[in-house]
């Protein structure tokens, strides 16, 4: 078992590979598998390839790949070479993906061939010096792609060359727990995503806490629903592989189909499931769970957003056997609070469940706007300290200054989430005071949506608000003033689809001649909310 000697997430894989190299580590969406021994060797080859092409410790290795054997191999290869990985949304807009990899100053980029459109978003001469083309047949994803050779720049390497390279030999300098492990980009309020920078120490402190609470074994079968740019994937990848269990990757298409997803969980006899509440709600509603044998399931974990009680009640009635866990924490800290849901969920309950007590590796404070501790039970902002706390936003000390605070020699992070500490329940989530909302587990800065719309030449003005929605949790309304009315909503949706990930696209568009303004000439968001709350014509 990984103990005090563990310095890196890559050590977890290597220890499991030494214990039982023939055991299946990964089952890819296309059904192909990698044993621990195979994955470890393939990742060592990628690491050798990276080093031979000038990637040094602390560098960033970007990838834009579907869920599959290639993406898992690349992320471990990067970490074996003591570089950090920078994943992006496989289906994300080309311009946004290129922006993220440019911001992270990646030294290498592994690009799935079907996303060659991303290349056009890099100005001439700015592409990373090491560009690796990954043919779709080599990604291990389930998506049916014609394996056409797309024009890649001269000098691009083929993934086969990385997999055939001599494995990285003994490292000249040992791995360190404070080495960069990965950078996960989340929505930024000014329109530019921000890179949450995390070390091996940050991830391992969380992984070790999970080991204690869930006591997984090599016989467990984990789901891997979250994409690798989403921090729920940290649990899936590293808790599963630390314990020699098998990780069942859920491909992008399957992940969106609740009926097929439920069948997948039953067919694979999964024992540990982790996803957002919205995925579980959809499975309860559309998954025909009553017709399936899901008796192997021991733990169902959810995080990323509040689980509306009706959906949770429906799910736990259909599947009463597993234990259910509400996990809470921003990407910046990973999970810092947890609560087991006591079953059954009573008929009369409408209030969402608390986020619970702090994890044993985290400390928390509830402070007011002046950073003074509030009385117990009062509302305040949740601040977190501990070994899982991120290093900062990559290359953005200006943003760091807003969220970090040193108190008595310790670094604390302001989550921006308003909570109350209640006896017997731990922490109760209240809401937010800024313009960040969560949808399907993803963070959305309304400012990023606004900024995408403001770039549309057909619009004179644009402002975006969120409203509570009984079905979806949150609804996003865009208020826009076209240059020349009338403007087609379909054209606006297409613009958003090209500029933003699907979960950020506004649900409704409301047209104005000019946007309402306050006396100080700022957009009057209160007036927009009132307008949005009017019944539809």
């Amino acid at each position: 078992m990984a103990g005090a000697a563990t310095a890196s997430l890559a050590d977890l894989l290597e220890a499991s590979a030494r214990r039982d190299p023939g055991r299946i580590a990964i089952v890819a969406p296309d059904g192909r598998t990698l044993t621990y021994g195979e994955l470890d060797l393939a990742a060592s080859r990628v690491a050798g390839f990276l080093r031979a092409h000038g990637v040094v410790p602390g560098d960033r290795v970007g990838f834009c790949l579907p869920k599959g054997l290639a993406s898992v191999t690349v992320l471990f290869g990067a970490m074996k070479a003591r570089a950090g990985y920078v994943p992006v949304d496989w289906h994300g807009p080309a311009a946004r993906n290129a922006t993220i990899h440019r911001d992270g100053k990646v030294a290498a980029l592994f690009l799935g061939e079907a996303r060659h459109d991303v290349l056009a978003e890099w100005p001439a001469g700015t592409l990373p010096k090491l560009l690796v083309r990954v043919p779709m047949s080599a990604t291990g994803s389930a998506a049916a792609h014609a394996n056409v050779m797309h024009p890649f720049p001269l000098g691009a390497h083929d993934f086969a060359a990385a997999l055939a390279h001599a494995p990285l030999a003994e490292l000249a300098s040992p791995r360190r727990r404070d080495d960069l492990a990965y950078i996960l980009y989340t929505s930024g309020s000014t329109g530019v995503p921000k890179g949450v920078t995390l070390t091996h120490e940050n991830a391992l402190s969380f992984v070790d806490w999970c080991s204690e609470l869930y006591a997984p074994t090599a016989d467990d079968r984990f789901s891997s629903h979250a994409p690798f740019h989403f921090d729920l994937s940290i649990f899936d990848l590293y808790v599963a592989l630390k314990h020699g269990a098998t990780l069942h990757l859920v491909g992008e298409e399957l992940g969106k189909d609740p009926k097929a997803l439920a069948r997948f969980a039953a067919d694979r006899r999964l024992t540990i499931w982790y996803s957002t509440p919205s995925v579980l709600s959809l499975m309860a509603e559309f998954g025909q769970l009553d017709t399936l044998d899901l008796s192997a399931l021991r733990h169902v974990l959810f995080a990323g957003e509040v689980f509306p009680v009706p959906g949770l009640r429906r799910l736990t009635r259909l599947l009463p056997r597993p234990r259910y866990w509400n996990l809470y924490g921003p990407t910046e800290t990973n999970v810092c609070n947890y609560a087991e849901i006591p079953l059954p969920v009573p008929d009369e309950r409408t209030r969402p469940y608390p986020i619970g007590p702090l994890c044993s590796h985290c400390d928390g404070l509830v402070l007011d706007e002046q950073q003074v501790e509030v009385a117990k039970g009062a509302e305040g902002l949740l601040w977190i300290a501990g070994p899982s706390l991120f290093q900062g936003y990559f290359g953005r000390p200006d943003l760091d200054a807003n969220v970090f605070q040193t108190r008595a020699g310790r670094r604390w992070y302001n989550t921006g989430d308003v909570v109350r500490h209640v006896d017997g329940e731990g922490f109760v989530y209240v809401g937010r005071r800024d313009r960040m909302v969560k949808r399907r587990g993803y963070r959305i800065e309304l400012g990023e949506v606004e900024s995408a719309l403001q770039r549309n030449p057909a619009l004179r003005e644009a402002a975006v608000i969120s409203l509570p929605d009984s079905a979806a949790g949150v609804r996003i309304d865009a208020h826009v003033a076209p240059v020349t009315p009338p403007l087609s909503i379909i054209a606006l949706k297409k613009w958003c689809a090209d500029a933003l990930p699907p979960y950020m696209s506004p649900d409704r568009f409301v047209f104005h001649a000019t946007l309402p303004r306050t006396s100080t000439e700022k957009v009057d968001y209160q007036a927009l909310k009132a307008k949005s709350s009017e019944p539809s014509p």
């Binding site: 298409e253 969106k256 189909d257 609740p258 009926k259 097929a260 919205s278 959809l282 559309f286 399907r440 979806a472 009338p486 087609s488 909503i489 379909i490 054209a491 949706k493 297409k494 613009w495 958003c496 689809a497 090209d498 699907p502 979960y503 696209s505 409704r508 568009f509 409301v510 047209f511 539809s536 014509p537």
Partner: protein, 95 residues
Amino acid sequence: MNTTNKNQPGDPSVEIADELRRFILAEFLPGESAANLRDDTPLRTGGILDSVATLKVVSFVEQRFSIEVEAHEAGVEHFDRIADIAALVRRKRGT
């Protein structure tokens, strides 16, 4: 040229397409003019239907036309345009 006008009135494929259009406009495009939602407007790739919205359209189609849509039929290949969905419904109903 609006592609909905190609067929004769009373043609079942026109009726299916018009019902789909009414549903999609009311649910996902409130305020949009019906003329802008053509039979060949891309729904998935055009950002009109995301994955959750697609599930709602599948549910609507199954209930309204008494057919069952398989998971593999709800992908971008069969479900990106009103014309494709209407064709799928026609095939399933044998009309």
